[in-house]
Structure formats: structure tokens, C-alpha cells
Amino acid sequence: MWAFIHKLGSPKWFYGISARLSPWFWAAAVVLILVGSAWGLAFAPADYQQGNSFRIIYVHVPAAFLAQSIFVSMAVAGFIFMVWKIKIADMAAAMMAPLGAAMTFVALFSGAVWGVPTWGTWWMWDARLTSMLILLFLYFGVIALRGAFTSRDSASRAASVLAMVGVINIPIIKYSVDWWYTLHQPATFSVTSRPAMPLEMWAPLLIMVLGFYCFFIAVTLMRTRSEILRREASKRWVRELAEEVS
């Protein structure tokens, strides 16, 4: 167990193992997203209430899932970095943050676009959209804090602490926003909470969610490998690797 963790902490070992793993995740991501898109866009039946505009769910929900999961992974990586001083964890956390912010933006944008046919307006202070917006600000905070320090070690540790504080707050924020929303807007139509979806509707959703997760893993592996090259540029194995590639 400990040997494994220490091995995982070695950038060189991680660089090698991630090179072997990442093609699988890329392939899975492409296949799942393509299949899910075709199924969701063309084959799933239209919703009896919302018609075809409900097909936005197939990008909105996976993006929203990913946005939250990435923040949690970032906090877990931060915890690993703070406790065991494993640099790879911090590199991964640093690379995850912009992707998480991008996914939060996608969820917000698709939610806003979805609002036009559903609510007749681009923006509603809907519980889900509001907590997504707050999540976006949390991402901005982590990214900005990391960028503000001149020393990399301080930046890493500060971002880790903030990610952990944020992840404790996310459920609290989520529940308080839900509570606030039900208090002020009783019995409005919520876009995604619906009585049991038929299989033909949720199967493509599941495929899309899995595809987005694979995409996240693949991108994070790739960018973490780049980050290793950047931070370990003066190590011998990195120099040899660069010559090999050329």
C-alpha cells in the first residue's frame, strides 16, 4: 500500500503509467460521447411536456455532474497533497480547476438556453442554476488564489486549503439554496426533477455522463503529464524523454 502510494507519487512512474492508460480513456470518451449524442439527439423520444427542447438535458446534466465532481476531486487531490506531500496530486488539482470552471460554464449556459423555451426567460434564479453560479465563483476563487502567489509551494498549499474549505461548503450552499428557492418560489416547474424517465430517455443520459467522466480523466491525465514536463524540466529523465520524442 505505502509502496504503491510512493510509487504513484513519483512523477516519472506516473508519466509512464498515464501514457499507457490515457488512450483507453480517450477512446472511451469519444465512443461514449458520440453514441450518447446520436442516441440523445436523434433516437430518444421527445418529452411529452417540453418537446424536443428537453434534449439539452444530455449536455446540461453531464456538465453539471462533472462540475461538482471536479471540485470534489480537486479537494481530494489537495488533501492528498497536504497530507502526503505528493506533488502529482497538486499538479492534477492545478490542471483540473480550469476544466471544472469550463464545465460549470457549460452547465450554466445550457441551463440558461434551456430556460428560454421552458420558462420564457434566459435566467431564472432557479435553485440548480444559482448553486451552479456560486460553484463558478468558487472555481474562480481557487484559480485566482493559485495565480496570486509568487512561490509555487505556497500557491499549491493555499489552493488546496481553499478547495477543501470549498468542498465542505458545497453541500451547505446547495441545501441552503434549495431551501431558499422552495421558500420563495413554491411549486414552479423544475426542468430536471421529473417523475421516472423511461429507459430510452435515461440510457443516453447515462452514456453521456460516463463519456464526460472519461473525457475529464483523459484531459486531466494529458495535462498533468504536460505539467510534469513543465515542473521537472531540469530532471535528467525529462531531458532524455524530450530527445527521444524529437
Binding site: 493559485r146 495565480g147 514536463l229 524540466a233 520524442v245
Partner: protein
Amino acid sequence: MAFDSLSAFLAMGGHGVYVWAAWGVTGLLLVGVVIHARAERRALLRDLRRRARRAQYHGASGAAAPPISHQEGRARES
């Protein structure tokens, strides 16, 4: 198949603009992320090779070369 024709598919029962806007932005962003990640990797490898050549040319060890500048303007190793 939920649609009879290609035009019906594109129209999405009158909601085409919204569906395609949401899907389009999502798709563009995913592709953009991949392109950015690839460009970043290429630039880093090119930089590493340049450093290796410079080290050979000067006959000095690469470790003495200055660290790679940060693409995203982040801090240098403390």
C-alpha cells in the same frame, strides 16, 4: 428514430435554436479543451528540445539552464 426527415431533425420541433446552441457551445468547448491540451503539450516538448540543444551547444549541463517560462503566468519554483 424520433424524426421523419433531416429537416425535422434540424428544426427539433421548433426548438432547434436552443438545442443546437446548447449542444454547439458544449461541443466547441470540449474540442477547445482538447486542442488547448495538445498545443500545450507540443509547446512544452518543443521548449524542452530547444533547451537540450542549447545545453549541448554550450557544453553545459541542462540543469543550469533557466526554467521553462510558465505559459499561464504561474509562479516559478520557490
